[in-house]
Every structure is written in structure tokens, then in C-alpha cells.
């Protein structure tokens, strides 16, 4: 399988991060252009792939995770501005025939991402 997928894990509650807003952009010149806004499902994934295999091309992409809104929505008390708010992850696709799975492990105090599978 090729294409781009993500998975949000809430490391405060030890569960998938459901209902988190994610903005997906592609680099064009010096900036990123918004392609779509999606929300994670009950499993912390998106119902549709972020980008389908046939749509994925070589280039740099950005996933913006709305971590602060997610935790405030759960009633977590945070400073304002919160230490972690909207978290951009920028990564490149160098071979569109490969699958790019980009998980986000987060709490209000840390973020981890990596190339998953």
C-alpha cells in the first residue's frame, strides 16, 4: 500500500486520540497550501487516507495537529497560551510507491512522530 496515513495517540489517557482536527497541506514554493481538513475517528485514524496512492507525488507535506483544542475539549486545564497548541509535522515523500504512515503521539507537554508502517 502507498499513500499517506496518520494515527493520533493520546498519551495522557492511553487511548487513540478521537475527534482531533488535522489540516493537511502540500508545499508549493516557499509556503504550504491547505489541501484538506480532516478529523480523527474513534480509533484515532482518519476514515479516508490522508492522501490516496494515486494522488501522492514526490514533495514536502505538512500535517497540522490541533492538540490544544483536543485536550481542552476533554476538560484538561491548560495554561493560555498552552505549551503545545497546533503542532505541524513536515515530511517529504521521496518514493510515491511507498506507504508513508506518520503517527502523532501527544500530550499537552510533548509530541512524538516518526515514519511508521
Amino acid at each position: 500500500m502507498a499513500g499517506i496515513t496518520t494515527h493520533v495517540l493520546d498519551t495522557v489517557n492511553g487511548k487513540p486520540g478521537a475527534g482531533m482536527r488535522i489540516e493537511f497541506s502540500k508545499r508549493v514554493g516557499y509556503g504550504f497550501v491547505l489541501q484538506k481538513t480532516v478529523y480523527t475517528n474513534a480509533d484515532g485514524r482518519t476514515d479516508q487516507m490522508i492522501l490516496a496512492p494515486g494522488e501522492t507525488t514526490i514533495g514536502e507535506y505538512e500535517l497540522r495537529f490541533f492538540v490544544e483544542d483536543y485536550f481542552r475539549g476533554k476538560g484538561v486545564q491548560l495554561p493560555d497560551p498552552a505549551f503545545i497548541s497546533v503542532v505541524p509535522i513536515r515530511f517529504s515523500v521521496f518514493d510515491p510507491s511507498q506507504h508513508y504512515h506518520v503517527p502523532m503521539l501527544c500530550s499537552p507537554w510533548n509530541c512524538t512522530t516518526y515514519r511508521g508502517s
Binding site: E60, G73, Q77, D80, R90, S92, C111, T113
Partner: protein
């Protein structure tokens, strides 16, 4: 327990108290503290620590750009460029004294250059190149230490101490 830990514990206690009041007054999800004013100085400092989990060493010679958000816009502007030294830290705090102000910041790690200099055999373009770490300094009385563990294939950052 350090004074820093005490401060953070006090903050947490305050936040919980504010939250409890909010629940009674208007429901849990609408309870929010008053936003901290941005641009306020204080006795704290911003420091960082870069750890290379690819080579298993501290990340020395890594270029990092510090940007600050312009008001509430989505635009960031360069404050300064720093380089890590032996040990993976910067020679001096990234921000201290009059420079250390509340605000929304971004540290941009030049991981592409770092691994290229070490001759790492990576795809082009590599999975990670210029990596932005965004966070806010909401209280200039506290120290903000931001460690980052990185490889060409992933990274993790957190509020350290």
C-alpha cells in the same frame, strides 16, 4: 523539590481551583484561565538539548532557527539562529534576560544539513529536513527547557526541566 517544581505544582493547583470554579459557574469545557499577556519578560530562560538517536550521540553543530509568532497571526519571524555545541546544548541560553519573553515560539532544526554533514546515506528528499518544534512560553518566571530526540526518521520533544 526544586523551586521550579514548586512553581509548576502551584500552577497546577491554581489551574485545578480555577477549573473547579468554572465547573460550578459554567460547565467544565468552558473553564479557561485568562490568557497570559505576550511579550512579558521575567527571570526565566529558554534552553534546549539535542540528542541524536540515529548515531547515539549528543547532537553537536546542529543549526536551529528560533522564530516567534507575530501576534495571533500564523506568521513567524526569525529571532536568532543558534548552533549546538559539544554536549548537544547551546553555549548560552537561547533566550535569557530581556530577550526572554512570553510568546509562541518555533525552533526549526536543520536535520537535513546535520545528517548530510555526517555522511548519512539517506533518500533525497529525506523524510525529515527542516523540523519545526512549536511551543509557548506562557510564564516568563519559569524556565522552559525543550529537549529534542531526533533521527532522520522521527523526533520527540517535550517540556523538560
Amino acid at each position: 523539590m526544586s523551586s521550579e517544581q514548586n512553581k509548576r505544582r502551584d500552577f497546577l493547583a491554581t489551574a485545578l481551583a480555577v477549573g473547579a470554579t468554572g465547573i460550578v459557574a459554567s460547565g467544565a469545557t468552558s473553564a479557561q484561565a485568562t490568557p497570559a499577556p505576550l511579550g512579558v519578560t521575567g527571570p526565566g530562560r529558554l534552553t534546549l538539548h539535542a540528542i541524536d538517536t540515529f548515531l547515539g550521540v549528543t547532537g553537536a553543530g546542529l543549526q536551529i532557527d528560533l522564530n516567534i509568532q507575530n501576534g495571533n497571526s500564523d506568521q513567524y519571524r526569525l529571532v536568532k539562529t543558534v548552533y549546538t555545541v559539544t554536549g548537544g546544548r547551546t553555549a548560552a541560553p537561547v533566550l535569557i534576560g530581556d530577550e526572554f519573553r512570553t510568546g509562541r515560539y518555533e525552533l526549526v532544526l536543520h536535520l537535513d544539513d546535520y545528517f548530510a554533514q555526517r555522511g548519512a546515506d539517506l533518500p533525497r528528499p529525506n523524510f525529515l529536513s527542516k523540523v519545526p518544534l512549536r511551543f509557548a512560553v506562557y510564564d516568563a518566571n519559569q524556565n522552559f527547557h525543550v529537549p529534542v530526540l531526533f533521527s532522520p526518521w522521527g523526533y520527540s520533544y517535550y517540556r523538560g526541566s
